[in-house]
Amino acid sequence: MERMAIGKAINAGLRAAMERDPRVLLMGEDIGALGGVFRVTDGLQKDFGEDRVLDTPLAEAGIVGTAIGMALRGYRPVCEIQFNGFVFPAFNQITTQLAKLRARSRGRLSVPVVLRIPSGGGIGSVEHHSESPEALFAHTPGLRVVTPSSSHDAYWMVQQSIASADPVLFLEPERRYWEKGDVDVDLAPGQVAPLHRARVLREGSDATLVAYGPTVRLALDAAAAAAEDGTRLEVVDLRSISPLDVDTVARSVRRTGRLVVVQEAPVFFGAGAEIAARIQESCFYSLEAPVKRVGGYHLPYPAARVEEHYLPTVDRVLDAVEQALAA
C-alpha cells in the first residue's frame, strides 16, 4: 500500500506500463523536461529517453494523428492533451480515424491509443481549462471513456487503458490531482477491478448518488452531510462513461428508489441524460421519484470568479436529493 496523490499515481502507472512494455510511449506538449503542466509525466523523459517520451510540436491533430500511425505500426502511444479545451483541434482525427479504424477495417486494424485529458474545473483557471467533454466522446462509437476518482484507480485504470486494444479517452480530474490516497500497487492483474465496472463507494438506502471523476468527492461529501440529518445516501462511482455500467446503478436504484446524477459537464445532453434514460427504463417500477440531474449549466464555462456558482455543490446535490425524497 502506497500513499500518493492522484497525479503521482498516474505518473507511477505510466512508469509501470512503460517498464512492462517497450512499445508504450508518451506524446504531448511539454511532457518532457517540464514533465507536463501538471507534472504528471515528471521524470519519465529522463528515465525513458526522448524516443519514448516525445515533446511534440504544438498541434493536437498532429499528436493524435501521428499516435494513430504509431499504433498501426505496433506501438502503444499515450497522448497528453494539455487541457480539456484543447482537444478540439484533434477532433477530426479522434472521430473520423481513431474511433473508426477498427470497424472500417473489419477488425483488422487496432489503434490502441490512450488520450489523457485533464478534465473538469474548479482550479480557478482561465478560459478553456475547465471543461468536461466526456459526452462528446461517449456519443462517438468506437471510443471508450473512463475517469478515475482516486489514486488507486488512477494508478490501475491508466494501465488498463494502455492495455486495452481499443482507443481510450482517459479523463483526469484536474482539481483532484493533488488529493492523496492509498494505492495497492501489489495487486495481481486478476485482482484489479475491471476497467468498466462501476463501484459502490458508500452504501445507503434512501437514495442513490451517481458521480464520476471530480464529482465523486462531492457526492461523498454530500452523503456525509446528509448522514448528519439521518439521510442515508448510496454513492456510486461510475469510473467508466462508455461503456456505462448500468447494472450496478440499477441494482442500487432498485433498492433506494431514487437517483441523483452529479456531473460537472452541462446537464443538457450530458451523461446524466443517458443514465436517466436507462434507469427510467430498467427501474420504471422501482423509481419512487424522477431521476434528478445536478451539473453544469448550459453556458460556456464561466470566469474563475463565478465558477463556484457554476459547478455543482453539496448544497445543490442535497437540494436534488430533497426533491427526490419529497416526490
Binding site: P57, G69, L244
Partner: protein, 396 residues
Amino acid sequence: MTDAAAGPPRDPQAPQEAQYPQDPAAAQPMVQLLDRHGVRRTHPEHEVDLEPEELLALLRDMVLLRRLDTESEALQRQGQLGLWPGSRGQEAAQVGAGRATRRQDQVFPSYRDHGAVLARGIDPLHILSVFRGVDHGGWDPATTGMHPYTLVIAAQMLPAVGYAMGVQRDGAVGTGDAARDSAVITYFGDGATSQGEAAEALNWASVYQAPVVFFCQNNQWAISEPVSRQSPVPLHQRAAGSGMPAVLVDGNDVLAVLAVTRAAMDRARAGGGPTFIEAFTYRMGAHTTSDDPTRYRSAAEVDAWREKDPIDRFRTHLRAEGLLDDEHEAALAAESDAFAERLRAGVREIPDPDPVSMFEHAYAEPHPQVLAERDEFLAAWEQHDEEARELAGGAS
C-alpha cells in the same frame, strides 16, 4: 540526346508553363523523361534504367488500371456499384509511384488511388467491394502494406507520418539492408493541400525527419474547384513552409514519376527524411460518377489534356523504341478483356455483408451497450423475418 549538364530539355509547350500562370518564376522546372510526344529525354538528377519487361509491365499496369476505371463506371451505371471515383488520366502518376514501393513499405492512400492498390498486388475486387457499399475497408492492410482508403480529405497524412516515426523507432531506416529499410508513402490531391492537417503532417515529418514521401497528385481539380482556388502558388511550394525538399514531376510521364518517387523513397529508407512530390496531372473523367463536370469546366480544357494522355504517350515511346508490337498489344488487350470479365463476374459475387457483422468490429473488447443492441437487433430481426416468412407463406 541533349546535354544533361544543361539541365532538362524544355519543351516549349510543356504543361508547367501553361498551368502555373500565377507565378511561373516560382515554379521549379518539371521533371520529365518522356516529352509529350513520347520522346525519351535525360535528366541530370532523375533517371531510371529499366529492362524491356519492366517497361512493358508499366504499360500493362496502366492499361489494366484504365480498364478498371472503364468497367467500374459501367458497373456503377448498372447499379452494381454505388459510386466510382475514377482515375483516368492519372495512370502514370499512380503506377509510377506504386512501382516505387517495396514489400516492406507502407502506403496510405486517398480514395482514388486504384493504381497504388493494384501495384501492391491487391485484388481489385476489394476496391469494388468498398464502392459497392459492402465494406469500408476492402483489402487486408496487415498483409498488403496498404492502409484502407481515407475519404476524409488529408486525414490519412498524419497517420502516415506517425507510422513512419514507428518505422524509425524500429530501426528500419538507414541500415543499408535493402530488405529491411522501409519508408512510407501517402497519396493525396491538390485540394488536400489546403487542409490544416496536411500542413501539420508536412511539418511533423520534417521536424522528426520521418521516412515518408508525400505524393500529391495535382489533377487540377478538387471536385469543381480549380487548383488556383486552393493556392496562389504551385503546390510543391507547400513544402517550403517546413523546409522539406520538393520535386515537381510530370505526372503523365510514368518514367519520370517512377524515377522521382524511387529516389524519394530511397532517400527516406536511407534515413534522409521526407520529400514532397507534386505530380502534375489531370483528372480526365468526372470527380465521381455522381459528378457533372460540364458545370464547371470546358470541353476544350479536357481535350487539351487528352492530348497528353499518359498511356498514349508511353505507348508511343515503347513503339518508337521497338519494344511494343502488334502481337504484344493483342496479348495485352486479351489480358485486359479477361481482367474486365473477372471484374464483371466477381462484383456480382461479392456477398452482401451479414447485417449482424456490423456489431462485430466497433470494439475489440466487449462493450455492454453494443452487446445489448446486438441482442435487440437479433431478436427483432428474427421476429420480423419470421413475420415476413409467414406473410410470404400465407400469400403463397
